[in-house]
């Protein structure tokens, strides 16, 4: 639906508020809705994992009659077959959704919290504070993200928590830049000067005037960022530097099953498809939201 079609539609009085307007446009965006659909499905899997999976993800077949459950092809009972320890792959994939969503949301929340604080401080104080913070951000951006994450994990040790921190830390500059740009854009405006003249504190200026303007680009960046974070954490897990066995994590599952790939293709196909689908969901949502929320970019697509 093009902007013109939307403009010609009769507007219900209730949808006049900016929020209502934005929500309506989000609902009209097929990209965003497709992404939301995928994310909703994954969230359902993550929450309902104990009820919709047939086994505990760590339940293996080592003690069950000489591993006869191991490496079974997909069947009615085991939809995606079993791995070398006889664990049901479908159950592990479902539980993996928990791990991946947790990683994505935690690391991006951390990055936004720190990034927004740094960006706000840099924007408000200006001068040398701004210069120091933003140069630091530039230097962080000079590292290819996975490399910086690798460096952090190398020192803190290969653990899921450290991988989450590392993935979060490397994306701090993105959010710092967004918030700083919003601060600089708003602070000079008359309504902010008026508010300041009335005695509003910097904190109030930040929360009342700057953040609402930063919200749209932040939401878009967060959606795309969760996808990237999941991809990077899976990469770290694959390298053995993130989640550790026996945790059900998709990247780790790929690495575990790599050796059996030649004869048991499903063991490597399924976790990969799961990662791709998840990242695709967040990318679709992010792209869709950007089309809807960022008026500057709206002209680019026809």
């Amino acid at each position: 639906m093009s902007a013109l079609d939307l403009a010609l539609q009769p507007r219900p009085a209730a949808a006049r508020s900016p929020q209502g307007d934005a929500m309506r446009r989000v609902r009209a965006s097929r990209l965003a809705m497709a992404g939301l659909g995928i994310i909703g499905f994954l969230t359902f899997c993550a929450i309902a994992a104990p009820w919709i999976s047939i086994q505990h993800p760590d339940a293996d077949g080592i003690w069950s009659a000489f591993m006869r459950d191991a490496k079974q092809p997909p069947s009615l009972r085991h939809w995606m077959g079993t791995d070398k320890l006889g664990r049901d792959l479908a159950s592990r994939i479902v539980y993996g959704a928990r791990t991946s969503l947790l990683i994505g949301v935690t690391s991006v929340s951390l990055a936004i919290a720190v990034g927004a604080a740094l960006g706000a401080v840099a924007g408000f104080f200006g001068r040398w504070v701004d210069a120091v913070i933003m140069r630091l951000m530039d230097i962080m951006l000079a590292f290819p993200s996975l490399l910086l994450a690798l460096g952090i994990v190398a020192l803190t040790g290969p653990r899921l928590l450290n991988a989450m921190l590392a993935v979060g830390i490397v994306s701090i500059p993105t959010y710092a830049r967004i918030v700083r740009a919003s601060v600089l854009a708003e602070v000079g405006k008359d309504y902010v000067t008026a508010s300041r003249a009335l005695g509003a504190s910097p904190m109030r200026l930040l929360l009342r005037h700057v953040m609402p303007n930063a919200l749209a680009p932040l939401i878009v960046a967060a959606s795309l960022g969760i996808g990237t974070a999941i991809l990077e954490a899976a990469g770290l897990g694959f390298l053995g530097l993130g989640a550790q066995p026996p945790l059900a994590e998709w990247g780790l599952m790929l690495a575990d099953n790599r050796q059996s790939m030649t004869s048991f293709w499903w063991l490597v196909t399924c976790p990969g498809v799961a990662i791709m689908l998840t990242v695709l969901g967040f990318n679709l949502l992010g792209d869709g939201l950007r089309d809807v929320l960022d008026p500057r970019l709206r002209g680019g697509r026809r």
């Binding site: 140069r135 630091l136 530039d138 230097i139 962080m140 000079a142 590292f143 290819p144 993200s145 996975l146 490399l147 910086l148 690798l150 460096g151 952090i152 994990v153 190398a154 020192l155 803190t156 290969p158 996808g227 991809l231 899976a234 990469g235 694959f238 390298l239 053995g240 530097l241 990247g251 790929l254 790599r258 790939m261 030649t262 293709w265 490597v268 196909t269 976790p271 990969g272 990662i275 791709m276 689908l277 990242v279 695709l280 990318n283 679709l284 792209d287 002209g299 680019g300 697509r301 026809r302």
Partner: protein, 333 residues
């Protein structure tokens, strides 16, 4: 213009200092250098020796100065596992990574730009939708999984390409640049050149997929924007064929944003190289760094991270400088 170039080149200096500081801090501030440098050989006596040799009891700024001094003299320490100088090992691995990255970026440009152009020229056609679905999947795909799938299909099932390494064991090529394609050509050994290309094919293809998808998306949106402008309508109105409109009038202006994207994608490419090299047993800097992390070989980790970051900084510098020639409309005061 000259002053812009000088300023842009000088702006690299603080970033390089920052990079050196961050790699230094990774070891000396966050980690315990004694444990990191000795690894499994840690004993209190050895630690005392290390503390003396690396002057670990000096204040931090003094230690940093020593670190930078040694680095400028090309001394990045010795590898803990092989005991050899890190710089010598780096010189062996770096050409392998450059060869792979170069092949991947060429493939990505060759695939991404034409795809984006066709998608924009036939806007909203089946080709357009197909190309964009493919591009969306491409940016969401984990490169390590794609690599495994390629090995499974093209190496194990079809047997078209070898699955691992840069060369079959037993075959050697006289070393000149360290990039085997160049070395084989220089030796005039076409048979070896063919074998080298076969080994390069799968990893380069895997590594090129994500950048190719990004490049296709940007080419498309950039072309669409240009195709909507007045001078394009004028060209069409005076009867220029659609092919010439796209190829001659629109393309030139649409390609500019691509330079930035290609530069940025090279950074993603370096990250991807770490994973791709690990999967294809490609003997480059990425795999070397990962092996060093699992083996707690800290000097090597430091060197690996340093090399990738410095490379990325210089690629960005080249991108920025290339604008001076590419777009005369931009004025640099």
């Amino acid at each position: 213009m000259l002053s812009y170039i000088v300023r842009r080149v000088l702006a690299v200096v603080p970033v390089l200092i920052g990079i050196s500081f961050l790699t230094f801090a990774l070891l000396h501030v966050i980690g315990n250098p004694c444990v990191a440098l000795l690894g499994d050989h840690f004993t209190p006596d050895a630690c005392v020796e290390i503390r003396l040799r690396y002057r670990l009891d000096d204040p931090l700024p003094v230690r940093y100065a020593h670190f930078v001094g040694r680095m400028l003299h090309g001394d990045l320490g010795n590898s803990i596992t092989t005991k050899r100088p890190v710089v010598a090992e780096l010189a062996e691995k770096l050409p392998a990574t450059f060869e792979l990255a170069l092949a991947a970026i060429v493939l990505a440009v060759l695939a991404g730009i034409p795809l984006g152009i066709v998608a924009a020229a036939r806007h909203n056609s089946a080709v357009d939708v197909g190309a964009m679905v493919w591009a969306m999947l491409g940016v969401s795909m984990p490169v390590f999984w794609l690599g495994l799938m390629l090995i499974y299909v093209f190496a194990f099932q079809l047997g078209w390409f070898p699955s691992l390494g840069r060369l079959p064991s037993g075959l050697t090529i006289p070393r000149w640049s360290g990039m085997y394609t160049l070395d084989a050509l220089r030796a005039g050994d076409m048979q070896a050149f063919k074998i080298v290309l076969q080994h390069l094919a799968l990893p380069a293809f895997a590594l090129s997929t994500i950048p190719a998808a990004f490049i296709a998306r940007i080419t498309r949106s950039s072309m669409l924007e240009v195709l909507g402008q007045d001078y394009i309508r004028t060209a069409r109105a005076k009867g220029v064929t659609e092919r010439a409109v796209v190829a001659r009038h629109a393309l030139k202006n649409a390609l500019l944003p691509l330079v930035t994207v290609i530069g940025l994608q090279t950074g993603a490419l370096l990250s991807g190289a770490v994973l791709t090299e690990t999967i294809f047993a490609w003997n480059g800097v990425g795999r070397w760094t990962v092996d060093a992390i699992t083996g707690s070989d800290y000097p090597v980790v430091q060197a690996g991270v340093l090399v990738f970051a410095v490379t990325f900084v210089f690629i960005n510098l080249i991108v920025d400088l290339s604008y001076v020639w590419l777009d005369p409309r931009i004025r640099y005061e």
